[in-house]
Symmetry: C2
């Protein structure tokens, strides 16, 4: 999986005429080693722990490349912080978020997706992307 994603980025870089740099390699390694929904600042700190010299502008720039390459998705939740998560090709999911502890549950629902397409079609739109976030309290935060 990780090896595959590295290959994808490498191919993307080739196609776009981008150079292979130590920084991009390292940031991709660290990003792939993390789990879901990491903020730029959090990732920057992790990367800096491995290589003191890396600037945060580079982390910002590189994450945008990952999105462009189809490896990552940018998500902005209720708290306004921009986060990135791994993107699995061909898959999609939405988020159920606890406003108490900020935990996130991912879900997929084809019935909703189909209804979305119907609504869009009714207005002559073709959907390119969508964002569905459900906010509530998880079982442990309800007490």
């Amino acid at each position: 999986m990780i090896r595959e994603k590295k290959r994808i980025f490498s191919a993307f870089a080739d196609m776009k005429g981008l150079r292979a740099t130590r920084q991009r390699d390292l940031i991709l390694d660290v990003f792939l080693s993390t789990h879901q929904h990491i903020s730029v600042e959090e990732l920057y700190l992790k990367v800096k722990a491995a290589n003191r010299g890396i600037g945060q502008a580079t982390v910002y720039r590189t994450l945008k490349l990952f999105v462009e390459a189809g490896l990552a998705r940018e998500i902005v939740l209720h708290d306004g912080q921009t986060r990135y998560e791994h993107l699995v090709a061909g898959e999609h999911h939405d988020h159920l978020i606890c406003t108490g502890c900020n935990s996130i549950i991912e879900f997929e629902n084809e019935a909703i997706e189909e209804l979305q397409r119907e609504i869009a079609a009714r207005h002559g739109f073709v959907i390119k992307s969508h964002k569905l976030e459900l906010y509530g309290l998880c079982p442990s935060c309800r007490n």
Copy 2:
């Protein structure tokens, strides 16, 4: 409708012990005269046109009060700009957005809402709010 909303805000202010100021009156008047999805900056300019002396911090503060009073909803779309829209008590809608011309179509779909509740229940959540945005191209922007 407008008179009713002014009454609601007035009652809200009484309840919270807030004072009735010229600024709040004016900002509410201008806000109610606008149509959907206005940014703070846009509203600030409109308000300033009516009364040069008003500060934008007051507009920020007052819009938050409108939300608290149930008169307005804050929405943050793809472009990152925070906007406010009138809220009709007991009603809810989601957004279909054209990424070409930024036009917005509002829709309601009870079937989707029901599916959302089912998904949440499956994870022991009770939904407090949700956000559904469909992004695509409108008929005129598809050419």
